[in-house]
Symmetry: none
Subunit: 261 residues, 2 copies
DNA sequence: AAACTATGGTGATTATAATGAACCAAGAGC
DNA sequence: GCTCTTGGTTCATTATAATCACCATAGTTT
């Protein structure tokens, strides 16, 4: 369904910094013909995925998305479950914590609890987290079905900082380490001066469906902090799993007791 | 873009009472071929709009919707816009006011402004408001797409008080009255001793996406109060529409001037 | 004010992608 | 062990979406 994929990929072009587009701009950014783009937008407009400013004729995401998101949340209330866990995580670590779930080829931040410190890492809700460059992604891949991992490793990796792991072998190493530790760590791979540590969130079959992450400014990071955050993350991930009735793989449970003494 | 429309209309088949489908069931309900349906689902799965239970192979709405909804909320902050309107409504009426948006098969309260009086109706944020038993629901249905109304009237209506309207014909009457008046009224249909009056909130297509409601203890309710609240609600609803850039149906505007003199 | 430019939007031809009946494989129920 | 149903696949046929030149309009520049 090439057409559907193209249409949906139009939606991915919207971001917080680029919340509205004119037809021409959107078509160009998508690499599609103007007419094609227009027709797709019209189709999505009919379903409320896109709406158009009556005056400026600019296109933006539509209110229909809210409805579907609330519906999804009504049937699978993950965010409600995760939010309090996240808040406690942010309190205990003093750093910003976020939760991300798989959405297409990347993770998407769906809940954030900001650090109370004045100097902190800010995470925008809705942020796309590439699998290879973030701890969230690594933790997710470490417990994702092998097929997903292989597919991910087959894609080409964008470089975000000079410390981004762009070599598949390198990424695989990070993933393997994360599988053993239960947490993934990425040092300044996505944003400069930020270290991520993340634990996976599981679905009913014991596969990762997302990740819980603590983001720390490099200035506050140390070996001690890292161990402490790791232990807290594993507890938090187990907590989420218990509340959602999902099943982490057996070996993940054992990490809790021996946790980084 | 027939293909895109068909694909998106698949998403509209999900509801709170029908949150998951097998391939065959979904294809049948959509009136599409299995193969076609499958390909569309796969395309949407790639973008996180749909996810599939790994064990049961059932399809449900995906986490990618959460991301886009968050993004939309970041660009058009509906709740932020509604809150001050609600605040003023509560001040002017002296009663608790709340806003609710469609979430599954009921409305969900997303913002509340409590009355300052000591004797007041309390509304918990997140409260589920059934469509047939609350003014919010009636006002919503009065301006919802006909398909939504018919579907709602097809469901069984739970009784909450001895004044709850549980007969579809009775509910339809309330809805029709609400369509004419611009506001829905429910007298002790959900909680005893409480009268709700509500005006619809519109989306970009001129359909209701929720409602603005004032809840009044029966002891303070009178014909005068009712007219006054109705007029204030219509003004508030129009105010919200203007601030959000959404489009109430033309005839709704006219209610403002003649408002319950 | 006239000419210019960039924008959103349209229409008919052509190339492409969607379709659907028949077909498989696998699990559930008897 | 057989059957029935379900998810998923295949490939010739057919309907559909991409394309490109074009139009209308609003804002700018000269």
């Amino acid at each position: 369904m090439k057409t559907v994929r193209k249409a949906l990929s139009l939606l991915d072009l919207f971001s917080k910094s680029n919340p509205e587009f004119g037809l021409t701009a959107l078509a160009q950014k998508a690499g599609l013909d103007k007419a094609t783009t227009l027709r797709m937008l019209q189709a999505m407009k009919m379903h409320g995925f896109i709406e158009q400013d009556a005056k400026s004729r600019q296109y933006r995401l539509g209110a229909g998305l809210l409805r579907l998101a609330r519906l999804r949340e009504a049937t699978v209330p993950v965010v409600d479950i995760i939010q309090p866990v996240l808040r406690r995580l942010a309190e205990k670590t003093g750093e910003t914590a976020h939760a991300a779930l798989l959405a297409g080829e990347a993770l998407a931040a769906v809940a954030v609890a900001n650090s109370s410190r004045s100097s902190r890492v800010n995470v925008e809700p809705g942020l796309q987290l590439p699998l290879h460059a973030t701890a969230s992604g690594i933790a997710f891949l470490a417990f994702a079905p092998p097929k997903v991992l292989d597919e991910a490793l087959g894609r080409k990796f964008q470089r975000f900082t000079d410390m981004t792991a762009t070599d598949p072998a390198e990424v695989r190493k990070l993933v393997e380490a994360a599988h053993i530790n239960g947490v993934g760590t990425v040092d300044r791979g996505f944003e400069p001066d930020v270290v991520d540590i993340a634990a996976p969130l599981f679905d009913g079959l014991g596969h990762a469906q997302g990740a819980l992450t603590v983001v720390t400014p490099i200035s506050r990071m140390s070996l001690n902090v890292r161990h402490e955050h790791s232990a807290l993350l594993i507890q938090a991930a187990l907590d989420c799993a218990r509340r959602m009735g999902t099943n982490p793989p057996v070996h993940f449970w054992s990490l809790n007791s021996e946790a980084f003494g």
